[in-house]
Amino acid sequence: MTVDRTPLLDLYRCMVRIRSFEEHAHKAFLKGGMPGFLHLYSGEEAIAAGVMAVLDDEDYVVTSHRGHGHLLARGGDPNRMFAELYGRVDGYCKGKGGSMHIADMAHGMLGANGIVGAAVNIGTGAAFAAKYRGEKKVSVSFFGDGSTNRGTFHEALNLAAIWELPAIYVCENNLYGVANYQSDHMKLRDVADRAAAYGFPGVVVDGNDVLAVRETAAEAVERARAGGGPTLIECKTWRHWGHFIGDMAKYRDPAEHEAWLKRDPIPAFAAVLLDRGAATEAELQTIQAEADAEMDAAVEFGRQSPFPDKSELTTDVYVGDRA
């Protein structure tokens, strides 16, 4: 049997690069010189990798405060990402946004966002733009379980439903809204059940199984492109770290944490690749080594990039203010 290994290895590489980026960001942050705070995506890589694998270049993506993984999976440049994290001029936002506002129009990435749940409304609007112009683009919004308790979630999904928009809502349910366990912030077991309130499909998928995520996302994207309207995809997952670097996550049950770490999406997918004969140990090690080397260089690039000129403080407030 001949299997095209390339897409599978691409998925693996994507996840490994995200993990490596986050580990490098973590270390760099603790070392100092990186302002603000960072929300790491480690543990949730299968979601970004699986969803982005089925998108076209012209599609739109909007994300949350935990957005590094989405930008990388979308084709973002780690050099410019680290420069942004360091607040430097070569960053995606010239250092004006930082980790929580990282954005890349060239990849249809309409931004990470500091307001929990804001991506849901913005993604809905991008989906509207696609439909309004008669384009076949879709828009994917990423958000956590906590944000689905916000009123904006309801308003956006209801609007997408009645306008039959090509919008895909991906809930990365890592079971915590900051320190608040899911059962303490909603009565539902599955966020996906909320889709019933809007009259479109809600699907639960193992967010640590990249192939399952990819398959589920592919169905939703295909339906959206065909004019079938929105889908809510709930990806069950776990963040390996606290809400942000510095949050020791003492509110979590250590046994539950350990159990989830055993379901780490990267080794799990490595096992699948080896089992199917789609990769050798050596190949996987090479992917890891390449990612680590790439991120070593990216951290250095970011650290070496100059700070923005002080005049940047007052430019870009309005379009046209750059004399």
Partner: protein
């Protein structure tokens, strides 16, 4: 020249712009089939239909929030928030998203949306349908705020607002909708950020905007009988503010009364007064006076509501204290 009312002038601006640019669409509560709660969008719907004049659910955060995403994806939404009292419901979408996207993403994205909304007391609509909340909007960098007083200004400024690449909050006073005035035919713009002398005078400057222009003109008419020559300066645009026009008029008259319907404390008049104190102090022959609404909610009873609204009488009383 032909005469139109304020409402017709606004509708004409919308129609002309939508003929010119297919990326412009209208969305809001009952803007379509119902024709707009104040009737502005009725003629627009008639020409462009439901594809470009979209009824939304009662979902203010989705109305402005989706517009942010649609604008980021290249459309030019003109959305309606029925009463300005409802605008704070969508504070995140306006203040944190629309206003900041250009800056926080380092100039990569712009947000060319117009939010049309009705302000002001006078129709017995009480505390939740009568406020003038422009000061809340003016405090947020990244937004522009326009408050026209005449049909001709309404048309020319709405066309400018739609063509502006920044988010614009466009304030329509509900007591002005039926007011009539000469309106030029066809396509013309009035520059954003330019005040207009509505009546020339030599002894005192009445600085005002929106419906208060009428009260100031009435006061000036009466004051003329007492040999006080009052200049009426209609700001038209609050952000960006035409400081030069303010300072030029104060330099000419040496006396100033700043008038607005909104509550006094934290009102936009305080900003105008501060600018004059900072940069025009040398011209002053008397203290700067502010005439504004009391620091109360807008009351229901006609006896109380008419007391809330700044009258020509109150303006005249303030002017007389300066001589």
């Amino acid at each position: 020249m032909r005469t139109l009312n304020y409402m017709q002038a606004l509708a004409e601006a919308l129609i002309l712009e939508m003929r010119r640019d297919p990326n412009i669409y209208i969305a809001g509560e009952d803007v379509g089939k119902f024709g707009g709660s104040f009737g502005v969008t009725g003629p627009v719907f008639k020409e462009f239909g439901p594809e470009r004049v979209l009824d939304t659910p009662i979902s203010e955060t989705a109305i402005i929030g989706h517009a942010v995403g649609a604008a980021a994806a290249g459309l030019r939404p003109v959305v309606e928030i029925l009463f300005m009292d409802f605008l704070p419901i969508a504070s995140d979408e306006l203040y944190n998203q629309a206003a900041k996207i250009h800056y926080m993403f380092g100039g990569q994205m712009s947000c060319p949306i117009v939010v049309r909304t009705a302000i002001g007391a006078g129709i017995g609509a009480a505390a939740h349908h009568s406020q003038s909340l422009e000061a809340l909007v003016c405090h947020i960098p990244g937004l522009k705020t326009i408050a026209p007083a005449t049909p001709a200004d309404a048309k020319g400024l709405l066309i400018s607002a739609i063509r502006d690449d920044n988010p614009v909050v466009f304030l329509e006073h509900k007591m002005l909708y039926a007011s009539k005035g000469e309106v030029p035919e066809g396509d013309y713009t009035i520059p954003i950020g330019k005040a207009d002398v509505k009546r020339e005078g030599a002894d005192v400057t009445l600085i005002c905007y929106s419906a208060m222009v009428r009260q100031c003109l009435a006061a000036a008419e009466d004051l003329a009988k007492d040999d006080i020559s009052a200049e009426v300066l209609d700001l038209r645009t609050l952000i960006p503010l035409d400081k030069e026009a303010i300072l030029a008029s104060v330099a000419k008259t040496g006396r100033v009364v700043v008038v607005h319907e909104a509550c006094l404390t934290g009102g936009f008049g305080g900003e105008v007064a501060a600018i004059i104190a900072d940069e025009g102090f040398g011209s002053l022959r008397a203290p700067i006076k502010r005439v504004a609404g009391p620091d109360t909610p807008v009351p229901f009873s006609p006896a109380l509501e008419s007391e809330f609204i700044v009258s020509a009488e109150k303006i005249k009383t303030a002017v007389r204290t300066l001589f």
